[in-house]
């Protein structure tokens, strides 16, 4: 059937902020989907609260609403746009949940919109455990035995029937939030309780445990004519019990016979048809008993997913794009295979390589939690090689976790090894190596880990070969074999006690270079038109390097992690677009399968490779580009810049020496002094004695941090000598692993200063200040975790002018070509520079969305030699920064809920996984939207609990008074209540913890408060405040931990009470701007 003509306008729902369990894979799928729909002439309206996405670029959809993903705002968009249809299957669980919520309120019906891709009935059947179970039973499929419970006593009853261990799953959550494994009754009580809280429908499924079974996933598609294809099969290396997002996985499935695989395929076909997935992609998970082969259906997602993004990258089959086409009526046979351009999309990709996905964790931030059914990883890498052994090594080094492959020198006694092997953890794969090295048999390791022996034998082959290498002298034959098994130059250098450079030279002397093969969907059967490459050590490359003479390599940002996420991928994609417009051939190097940058049509040539010197150099030597862009991928490419430059590779834009100056405290300080720009007093100390002396001379409080860190890792505000001693001690304990530079930076901490972020572009002659953002939280909260507003809401003209001057002077001084981000602190009218980074910052996409100026594209043009004066309208350049006549506020989204026991408070170390944006006429309204979008719904009435540290007491008075005036009632513990009372503000008293019942925590649990204001005192206190914050978090009661945010919140509440918040697309906001920016630079 051709596409539908009864539909003209389609609303696409995005997935909102990046959170654990829902990463940037939905930017990838949403972007593909929107492009596909527009290609077919549909008018596309988008709602998504995440500004750091490509999909929210104003050129992508016809109308882009950066608004909170709630039924209220969805209704506003529907009212304004009146689309005929909604496509909810590209925006992850968020979009599906929003759609269900809207439907339940009758909104979908009221506006007469049709759901494309998945009907309500389908979503319900897939998401509601009970309905899913019934549906599977009807078609005769085997399932783990399970029962749905709605309270703890029902759960106990169920446990008697099913036996322990039990899987606990909350209905309608993503990434397994609120789930877990219960091993005994106490465990069960606790986990069921948490799951009930997490489930929006208050239902929990208890399931017979398939712990230790083999886990498989099929990514399938079905069209309106019932054509069905499996795009990819995925086998999880970690068995059932570890969330698939946290598992090492491999594609295709490695250990099933054809008959076993086809039976699984038959079942998948039955499942999608019974669930009613009529048009689109679907993910189905199976568990297979390792000894009996009994197979059960575990789960289904009737939408594109993290796994479907992986499957798309692993096979070249663009699931999201095809899903969008199917949703509007096409059938699979009518759609062409983009990769071959000759065959139809109605087929099953065959691949001739092995794909491994490895998760990236953020345990350095939250502690090393054991892995279970609730997802905890924050990012992933994918690696392609010709064998599993090659791919796993590539994947592990792509993680940038300090490993150059399947590397581990650790040893342990047998007992410790058994413990390390039996408990799934982020480092278990390395303990497998330790166990095999210690002589444990592959069978025993398999038995203990419950990982299929096939994988353990593969690991063993690597361990055995490594032993051969260690015992031999380098030879061409050994080197050839080692490279074939995925050993990197760095690994070989260590084994053979040489430098990586020497290994590289030796390898080249022997003529050993990688071959570059194509990902072509068809295992070579047909010619492929799409240059999507991976490296391997084989005889022949498939295709020659690009012919263009103007080639530019963009280095991507690797796996998402806290501090380096989608924002950098956004910049890389923008850069590729700019290069295309400049007539250059763009060559993307990245290994993150979730991203838009690794989509095969984002750049002219795609290399799916780890971002290491070796891999990048191999690509550069093959392609011989004009230069390499290192500014956009965050710290990852920057870390390679010096080595690349040394190897003679031209770096485009700001040169390495400038980067070094900005990163070297001493030289940076000298530059600032020369320019007369003040900075907080600071110094470097290498030991405790000097640190103490330095801190005393600067004066407490001080900010301490190791040098060369990203995301404020291990950064801390220190109030006294003993604090500094503790800090140094902890640094020493953790050193040796991660920190290259053990030296410590100590800065004067500017208490209560206002922090300001600036993004600017410099061409060596002019400086364009793209955006000035004022942080809501005071200095001391990491800028990545802080809310900020553009234009600044409280900075005076004088401070702004100083910031403008300093930015210009510093950018020119550092000889920046491209982007620079500078952080300022303003205290008592004085402006200080905190730090400068001559590269794209996290805020570049936010600034671009807020101002309508594609900053990364502009910077790319500058790096290729264009001048700002030719790229920008004169007024825009001369008067920058120009404040838009509206306000955009960015808010961070934090993952605390995923990490039990973590104190949900902000500090100098970054913890957020993502961000949202609110945009409206003024600051209070944009702030209100940003809070709503981040999941914190500010109440319009009710009772507010207040407990603040002494320093915040004067400021809280204003907050309390305003709340009372708006009719809120206040609740406080004795001291705060007395303090408020002395200032004529009435508050009800509540007992502190331990003062009797009901105490404040009970109050929160009973939901008798609608807002919690709790500012933590010092770094070490973990008593009452912790319990209050954690309880509020777990019960989803809004909790504000920072006095400045309270003030903003009060204004926001007032504004929202005054007039209902309405919506407007970016394209309309931009029409209000006093400048026009050419669409293409």
């Amino acid at each position: 059937m051709p596409k539908r003509t009864d539909i003209k306008k389609i609303l696409v729902i995005g997935s909102g902020s990046i959170v654990i369990g829902q990463g940037c894979e939905f930017d990838y799928s949403g972007t593909q989907g929107i492009k596909a729909l527009r290609e077919d002439g549909y008018e596309v309206v988008l709602i998504n609260s995440n500004p750091a996405t490509i999909m929210t670029d104003p050129e992508l959809a016809d109308r882009t609403y950066i608004e909170p993903l709630t039924p209220e705002f969805l209704e506003e968009v529907l009212k304004r746009e009146r689309p005929q249809a909604i496509l909810p299957t590209l925006g992850g669980q968020t979009a599906l949940n929003l759609t269900v919520a809207a439907a339940e309120r009758g909104i979908i019906e009221k506006y007469g919109v049709e759901l494309l891709g998945a009907r309500l009935e389908t979503i319900r059947k897939a998401e509601d455990r009970q309905l899913f179970k019934q549906c599977m039973q009807q078609i005769g499929l085997d399932l783990p035995k399970s029962l749905v419970v709605t309270d703890v006593s029902e759960a106990k009853q169920a446990a008697r029937e099913l036996g322990f261990p039990l899987i606990v799953r909350a209905s309608f959550t993503l990434g397994g939030t609120g789930g877990g494994i219960a091993y005994h009754l106490d465990d069960l009580r606790q986990k069921v309780h948490a799951a009930l809280e997490a489930s929006p429908v208050k239902k929990v499924l208890l399931e017979e445990s398939a712990l230790g079974w083999k886990e498989f996933e099929l990514e399938v598609m079905r069209d309106a004519k019932d054509n069905f294809v499996v795009v990819c099969s995925i086998e999880n290396i970690d068995p059932m019990g570890v969330h698939t997002g946290d598992s090492l996985t491999v594609a295709p499935a490695m250990t099933l016979t054809d008959r076993q695989y086809q039976q699984m395929r038959d079942e998948a076909k039955k499942v999608v048809s019974a669930i009613g997935v009529e048009t689109g992609g679907c993910n189905i998970q199976f568990a297979v008993h390792p000894r009996t082969g009994r197979r059960v259906v575990v789960e289904i997602n009737p939408r594109v997913s993290r796994s479907s993004a992986l499957a798309s990258k692993a096979t070249g089959f663009p699931i999201a794009k095809i899903a969008a086409k199917l949703a509007v009526g096409y059938t699979l046979d009518e759609i062409r295979n983009d990769i071959t351009k000759a065959t139809p999309a109605c087929f099953e990709p065959s691949i001739d390589y092995v794909v491994v996905k490895a998760p990236r964790f953020a345990f350095e931030k939250f502690g090393d939690f054991p892995l279970d059914t609730a997802m905890k990883s924050v990012g992933e890498v994918m690696a392609i090689g010709r064998t599993f052994k090659e791919s796993i090594q590539k994947a592990l080094r792509g993680l940038e976790g300090g490993k150059a492959g399947f590397d581990f020198e650790g040893e342990a006694d047998a007992e410790t090894l058994l413990k390390k092997l039996s408990l799934p953890s982020s480092g278990r794969v390395y303990w497998i190596k330790a166990a095999l090295r210690s002589g444990m048999s592959a069978e025993d390791v398999a038995e203990t880990t419950q990982i299929d022996p096939w994988f353990i034998h593969q690991f063993k082959e690597l361990v055995d070969f490594e032993a051969v290498l260690s015992a031999s002298r380098p030879s061409r034959e050994l080197l050839r074999q080692a490279k074939g098994l995925g050993f990197s130059d760095v690994q070989l250098a260590r084994l053979w006690k040489r430098t990586p450079q020497a290994m590289r030279a030796l390898r080249r002397r022997h003529g050993l270079r990688p071959a570059f093969k194509l990902v072509d969907t068809c295992a070579g059967e047909f010619r492929s038109a799409t240059p999507y490459f991976y490296s391997t050590y084989e005889d022949e490359s498939d295709a020659p390097p690009g012919k263009s003479r103007k080639k530019v390599v963009i280095l991507g940002s690797g796996p998402n992690r806290i501090g380096q996420g989608i924002e950098f991928d956004y910049c890389c994609v923008q850069s590729a677009l700019a290069l295309r417009a400049l007539g250059c051939e763009s060559i993307m190097v990245n290994c993150n399968p979730e991203t838009v940058s690794t989509d095969y049509d984002t750049s002219d040539r795609l290399y799916f490779e780890p971002l290491t010197f070796e891999n990048v150099m191999d690509i550069v030597e093959r392609e011989r580009p004009l230069g390499v862009i290192v500014q956009f991928g965050g710290q990852t490419p920057l870390n390679l810049a010096a080595a690349l430059e040394k190897a003679g590779v031209p770096i485009l834009g700001t040169q390495v020496r400038s980067i070094d100056i900005a990163e070297d405290r001493r030289r940076f300080g000298a530059a600032l002094r020369e320019l007369g720009i003040p900075a907080p007093e600071n110094g470097i100390a290498r030991d405790l004695r000097r640190a103490l002396a330095l801190a005393r001379s600067i004066g407490y409080p001080v900010m301490a941090r190791p040098s060369y860190v990203l995301g404020g890792r291990n950064m801390q505000i220190i109030y006294d000598d003993s604090g500094l001693r503790d800090y140094m001690e902890r640094q020493r304990a953790s050193r040796g692993r991660a920190e290259r530079h053990p030296s410590l930076l100590i800065d004067r901490f500017l208490a209560d200063a206002t922090e300001v972020d600036v993004d600017a572009v410099c061409d060596g002659k002019d400086v364009f200040i793209a955006g000035v953002m004022e942080h809501i939280e005071e200095a001391g909260i990491h800028s990545g975790d802080s809310a900020c507003t553009l234009p600044p809401h409280s900075l005076g003209q004088a401070a702004l002018e100083t910031i403008r001057r300093h930015t210009t002077a510093l950018a020119l001084k550092l000889e920046v070509r491209g982007l620079i981000n500078i952080q300022f602190a303003v205290k008592d009218g004085a402006v200080y520079i905190l730090e400068a980074n001559p590269r794209a910052s996290r805020t570049v996409p936010f600034v671009s969305k807020a101002t309508g100026i594609p900053v990364a594209r502009l910077a790319t043009s500058v790096m290729l030699g264009k001048s700002l004066s030719r790229l920008l309208p004169r007024k825009l350049l001369a008067e920058s920064p120009i404040a838009p006549p509206y306000t955009a506020t960015k808010e961070a989204v934090l993952p605390f809920i995923k990490f039990p026991g973590i104190d949900p408070r902000l500090g100098p170390e970054m913890k957020s996984t993502g961000e949202v944006m609110g945009i409206d006429v003024d600051f209070p309204r944009s702030f209100a939207k940003s809070q709503e979008a981040s999941g914190l719904t500010l109440p319009a009435s009710g009772s507010v609990f207040i407990s603040v540290r002494d320093a915040d007491k004067p400021e809280v008075l204003h907050v309390a008074r305003s709340l009372r005036q708006m009719g809120f009632s206040l609740v406080a513990t004795r001291n705060t209540r007395e303090f408020l009372g002395r200032h004529g503000i009435e508050a009800e008293r509540v007992a502190k913890l331990g003062e009797g019942k009901p105490d404040v925590v009970d109050l929160i649990k009973q939901r008798s408060v609608s807002l919690v204001i709790n500012t933590p005192s010092t770094q070490r206190s973990r008593s009452d405040g912790y319990a209050i914050r954690r309880t509020a978090l777990e019960l989803n009661v809004p909790c504000i931990t920072n006095i400045h945010s309270c003030q903003a919140a009060v204004h926001a509440i007032a504004a929202a009470r005054e007039a209902r918040l309405t919506v407007k697309p970016l394209q309309e906001y931009y029409r209000q701007l006093p400048y026009r920016f050419p669409a293409e630079t």
Partner: protein, 372 residues
């Protein structure tokens, strides 16, 4: 210890690898198969008789050999080419590692080959004659052997793979409806076909390719299935003649793969050789009647020329990849056939409904003969 092995192609390519099967030497036509699973089925499929098969999937042997997945009594292909062969398989059904099986059956095999580079060569140049050896490691002499290897065109390989005398097949039999009897002409029949028939509740008799029509009719079949098999259909003239006689008796006939080509010849058509054939499990085929698409298992180097067929024969299925004919049916006679493998093994089960259709034809015939 794993010794060296050498692979030579008639175009002059010589590839060095390690032996991973029996010691020896094999010559034949090199073809590739893009299946990611099902190497055991490929190895034991008689259609590969005399060929050197390279698997495009780089890791082969992961689940070893099972007792359930043989498609005939033994492996038929001349030699086996892979990137890496797994010595430590893992699967609950596994009974032995693949390399044991290869050695047991005397199959020469090579690993450590850049199978993708080899595949691209075969794609561009078409199927090439090749020689694989663990004995003769002299490139020049092996190359000469490759160039002397017989071509598939013009030789009757069916005689070499067909059973010597008729036998009954009962594995997988499930009683369903009246006891219909099918005679399967064994041109190199896969057990998968026989299992599918038995599962339909059919009594199955497998007969040698050379069995004449009269003898076949004497078995009182309700229908005749023309099986798959190796090589060029043209030299199997005796079978074409038999099929013509069977057609005259208006017996329901179902042809698969080589059986489809032989039926085409019997109906007066011609066949031709494809450049590198279809060998994989992921081929989309459209049913022209329903417009639905099935993902099919395919393995053929020859194809029926549609234009050469009389008007009564219509094309029922086409390949979406290259537009070639994948199925036909006669408008007056109860005969139909497909170029692909509805029994799959290995491959998706999308087309197993064709066995039901065949059974229906037989039922209709029986009802028309003896209305009760």
């Amino acid at each position: 210890m794993r010794g060296e092995a050498l692979l030579a192609l008639e175009d002059g390519t010589v590839l060095r690898g390690r032996s991973c099967g029996a010691a020896g030497e094999a010559c034949g036509e090199a073809v590739f198969n893009t299946a990611m699973t099902g190497y055991q089925e490929v190895l034991t499929d008689p259609s590969y008789h005399g060929q050197l098969v390279t698997m495009t999937y780089p890791q082969i042997g992961n689940y070893g050999i099972t007792a359930e997945d043989n498609e005939s009594r033994k492996p038929w292909l001349a030699g086996f080419i892979t990137k890496e062969l797994c010595r430590n398989p893992s699967n609950w059904q596994s009974i032995e590692p693949l390399d044991f099986f290869l050695r047991k059956h005397g199959i020469v095999a090579i690993e450590g080959i850049d199978t993708r580079a080899l595949t691209l060569r075969l794609r561009e140049k078409g199927a090439l004659r090749a020689a694989l050896s663990t004995l003769d490691l002299n490139p020049r002499s092996l190359l000469a052997k490759a160039r002397r290897a017989p071509s598939m065109s013009g030789s009757d390989l069916v005689r070499e793979v067909s059973c010597e005398k008729a036998y009954r097949w009962t594995e997988g039999f499930r009683q369903r409806g009246p006891a219909l009897h099918v005679v399967v002409y064994d041109f190199g029949a896969k057990f998968g076909i026989l299992r599918c028939l038995a599962r339909q509740g059919l009594r199955v008799t497998v007969v040698p390719a050379s069995l004449g029509a009269a003898e076949a009719l004497a078995l009182k079949p309700d229908g005749v299935l023309l099986s798959n098999g190796p090589g060029d259909p043209e030299p199997v003239a005796y079978a074409v003649e038999t099929i013509r006689r069977l057609l005259e008796r208006r017996l329901p006939i179902f042809g698969i793969c080589l059986g489809h080509q032989l039926l085409g010849l019997a109906l007066g058509g011609k066949t031709f050789k494809l450049k590198f054939g279809h060998h994989g499990l992921n081929h989309p085929v459209m049913d022209l009647e329903t417009r639905g698409v099935a993902i099919t298992s395919q393995n053929h180097g020859f194809c029926v020329d549609l234009a050469s067929l009389p008007r009564e024969v219509r094309t029922t299925h086409v390949s979406l990849n290259d537009g070639t004919s994948e199925g036909m049916a006669h408008s007056q006679l109860p005969a139909f056939s497909v170029q692909y493998h509805p029994e799959a093994s290995a491959g998706p089960h999308d087309s197993r409904g064709l066995f039901v259709r065949f059974k229906k034809l037989m039922l209709e015939r029986r009802q028309s003969i003896s209305p009760c």
